[in-house]
Each structure stands twice: as C-alpha cells, then as structure tokens.
C-alpha cells in the first residue's frame, strides 16, 4: 500500500510541508486553464483546520486564481477550466452533484476592494443568513448580526446606526463589514483575496489583528502581495511562482531559512 505522502514526495515537485495532519481542505493535482493558458500547474496542498495560511508570490503567479478554486468562484468566468480534485471533508467540491450555493456558505470570501451591498449595515450582514434560511425569527437574526459584527470588531462602532448604508463607512470599516457578512453564515473556511491592499496601514493592522483572532475559529487562507503581511499574519506560508507551488512551510521557517532557492530569491527581494 503506497502512502500518498511518500508517493508525492518522490515526485519532489513542491518543497516543504504540503500536507497537514488535521486538514480541512485538500487540493490534489489541481490545474487551472484560462482558455489555452495554464494558470495553475499541478498544485497539491492541504489547508489545515483553524490555521491561517498565506499564499505569496509575484504578480501573475496564480495565487488568486488558485484561491478562487476553493469556493468555485472561477465558475463565474466562462473561459476558466479547473482540473483535479479539491475535497472539503472528503467531498470533492468539483463533483457534478455538488451544489455550489451551499458550498459558498461553508467557504466564505472577502475580496480585495471592500464591496458591501448597497443596503444598510444590518441588511448586509443579514443577507446571507436570510437567503440560506439560517435564522428562525427576527430575534435570532438580530443575534446573528450582533455576534458577527462583534467578531469582526465592528459592533462598538456601528451598533447605534445599523440601518445606515454600509457604503457610508470608511474603507477599513467596510472591509470589516464584509468580514462580518462572511462570518454571519458560519463558514468553516474564510478565503481572503488581498483584503488589505486597498487600506491604509492602521486599518490594515486592525484587520490583521482581527485575522489573528478569527484564526482561532476558522481556517483562513489569505492571498497577499505583501510578504511582510504574510510574515505577520500567518502560521503557514505557501510560495507560488508562475502557476507552480514552489514551497510550503511554517512562516517562521520560510522567512528565516527557506528551503528552495527561488523562495529565498523572492523573499530577499531578488526577483520580482
């Protein structure tokens, strides 16, 4: 009986700890094509339970594309084709039988530019629970909204104006609102695609602290173009380059003694 791990290591494609003991999401041999262009080349990686893992790499390396595979957001792009297996609790999410709608409630997403709905703060957070039928009555829904806003660190600032429009908040607050919105449907995994790139340093620091707290409840995968952010925020880091996963490992190790020379070059600012 060949152990999957050893088998994989023999191929020696990615350096470092690709697998986790307690994995939430498992990606195996994932290829992604845009038309005829291969954007992701044979990537295998585990996302651990309640861990914060960051994807880093130069622009165009495919990290955002790969992130969007986890909640099948690539389905909305006509020319995009995904091959391989991604399992959430041993269920292949690309199986034809899987309905993408409840999947996206289990795997939430926060985008680069804060995009609250043009509705009130309350309705923004309540939208998800409403369409998925998660709340039993108004009181319950109020509770979900309050809890989500508290977890996102926004409750103190907005509890007196829940009916004012979400778009009236500052950038950092809007992003936290989007995080609250994602939390409201009780996901298992939260995907974040460069969540702080549109924010100033203070707002960024607050969101990073929030991510640190959320990491105790959810698995978080964060794509970032800032290495320093990956160093600050994640326990594990994965380095992508031109669609390939080059190295994965404990953030501490990646930033002090990376195993692959390409990782070393990128981290020390030697290549773009």
């Amino acid at each position: 009986m060949i152990n999957e791990e050893n088998d994989f290591r023999k191929l020696d494609l990615t350096v470092g700890d690709v697998f986790s003991k307690d994995a939430r999401l498992k990606a195996r041999n994932v290829n992604v094509f845009y038309g005829n262009n291969k954007a992701i080349d044979n990537v295998t990686i585990d996302i651990g339970n309640k861990e914060v893992i960051s994807f880093i790499g130069p622009s165009g390396c495919g990290k955002s594309t790969f992130l969007r595979c986890f909640n099948r957001m690539n389905d909305t792009i006509d020319t995009c084709r995904v091959e391989g297996k991604i399992t959430l609790e041993d269920e292949n999410i690309y199986d034809r039988k899987i309905d993408v709608v409840p999947l996206r409630a289990r795997i939430g997403m926060v985008f680069q530019k804060p995009n609250p709905f043009p509705k009130s703060i309350y309705d923004n957070v309540a939208y998800g629970p409403r369409i998925h039928g998660l709340s039993e009555n108004k009181e319950h829904l109020d509770g979900i909204v309050e809890q989500s806003l508290k977890r996102a660190g926004l409750w103190e600032e907005v509890n007196d104006r829940l009916l004012s429009p979400g778009t009236g908040l500052s950038g950092g607050q809007q992003q936290r609102l989007c995080i609250a919105r994602a939390i409201a449907v009780s996901p298992e995994v939260i995907l974040m695609d460069e969540p702080c790139s549109a924010l100033d340093p203070i707002a960024t620091a607050k969101i990073e602290e929030l991510i640190h707290e959320l990491g105790n409840e959810y698995s978080i995968v964060i794509v970032t173009h800032s290495m320093q952010q990956a160093a600050r925020v994640s326990k594990r880091t994965a380095y992508f380059h031109l669609g390939k996963l080059i190295e994965v490992g404990k953030t501490k190790n990646i930033f002090t003694r990376p195993k692959h020379s390409q990782t070393e070059a990128y981290i020390s600012g030697k290549i773009g």
Partner: protein, 235 residues
C-alpha cells in the same frame, strides 16, 4: 512597555523576549553575587552549584537569540522596537559572558581553598565584588526602567573598580615578589581580581547599550578609565 501595538502577537513576542532577557540578567546577577559570597565563606558545595548552574545562562541566551532573530524576520520592527531588539541581543550575549566569568571565579576559588588561602591584607576581593555587584544591580534597574541617567551613573562608576583593581594588582605582585611560595596563590588571586574587573567592564557595556536604547545615539565621550595595570610596571 508603553503603548500597545495593534498586533497583540507582536506585543506577546516582545514581552516574551523581554521576560527571558530579564530572567537571564537576574540569573547572571545571582550567580555573580553567589560567587563573591562564596569567596568569603569558602563553601565548596555552594561553589559547585554555581559552576553547574552556568548552563542555565547558556540556554536562556540561546532562547533570546532565537526569539530576537524571529521577531526581526517576521515583524520588521522599527524605531524604538528595533533598538530594543538589537540591544536585547547584544546584552544577552554580555550576560552570558558575565556568567562565564562567575564560573571562572568559582573555579579559581576552589583552587585557592585547596591551597589553604586565608587572607591577604590590602586585597579585599569582597569589596571589589560588592562595588561591581552594586553596578550590576543598578544597570539591571536601568534596563528595566529604560533609565538612561542611571545608566550614565553606572558607566561613570567603572573607574572605581578599576582603581581597586590597580591597587590589588600592585599589592599581589609585591607579595609574590617577597614570598616565592606565594606565587601560585597570587596568580589565582590576580585572575580573580581581573575577572571581577572584566565583569565591571561588561556591566558598563550594558549601561552604554541602555543609553543607546533610550536615546538612539551612542555615548560620545570616552568613558573614564582608571585601570593602569597595563601601564605600570612594579619595581
């Protein structure tokens, strides 16, 4: 520490580093205290304990080095944070070396006991040791409170220990000249005195680091020195 960072993890790491460093410093001070006392009491068991406890200091130093290195790699500290980390790394090394000297003093004390050493008038190792002890305590306090004035005071007290060292050096040399049999004892005494003087120098180094930590600049004028042992040749 003053203001908290937005990142609580950063604070946590900095506090861990600080606690380890203070632990290292206090242990080094404790070792030094003990080795000076043991010189007076000549208690073999206590001396052995000091020698064996030196490993603790090595381990603590390793921890501080590793932690400081990681914080620099992962947090890219700036301004006062950066100075704190760099100073912590340097000071940890110094504490570890002071610990080595305490161990050396203890070893030589053991040998003196075997040689039946009792007392040499004009050479008060205890006095020198206590002056150094006071400096050490003050510098630890200066580091904990980031008190640059106290640090400057410590730095300026170094010459007193140097003076004593010069005095005792001359006295021991004379004794050795008068009595050839005294030579082995004298040699050990010389080393012990030198070691204490080196510890005082290291403590002064720490004081200068504390000044840098607080002000971001180096103490410009030369520290007052009074060690003329390398300059004087006894007749």
């Amino acid at each position: 520490m003053d203001n908290n960072h937005i990142s609580s993890l950063f604070d946590k790491d900095l506090n861990k580093l600080n606690n380890n460093l203070l632990s290292l410093g206090n242990t080094a001070l404790d070792q030094f205290d003990k080795c000076i006392n043991n010189f007076g009491t000549q208690d073999i068991d206590k001396i052995e304990k000091v020698i064996n406890s030196d490993k603790i200091l090595d381990d603590l130093d390793d921890k501080v080095q590793k932690l400081g290195f990681e914080i620099i790699a992962l947090r890219a500290p700036q301004a006062a944070d950066l100075r704190r980390i760099i100073v912590a790394l340097k000071v940890a090394t110094i504490f570890e070396r002071i610990g080595d000297y305490s161990r050396n003093i203890s070893n030589r004390t053991k040998l003196l006991i075997e040689l039946n050493y009792s007392d040499l008038p004009g050479v008060n190792i205890g006095k020198m040791g206590q002056k150094t002890q006071t400096m050490f305590e003050d510098v630890l306090e200066a580091y904990m409170n980031e008190d640059d004035k106290l640090a400057v005071k410590v730095r300026n007290s170094d010459f007193k220990v140097d003076k004593l060292h010069t005095e005792y050096y001359l006295e021991i040399i004379s004794s050795m000249q008068r009595n050839k049999n005294f030579a082995p004892t004298g040699a050990h005494l010389l080393f012990i005195a030198k070691n204490i003087e080196r510890v005082a120098d290291y403590v002064t180094d720490i004081a200068e680091q504390v000044y840098f930590l607080v002000n971001g600049s180096v103490l410009s004028d030369h520290r007052p020195k009074a060690d003329e042992t390398s300059l004087k040749v006894p007749d």
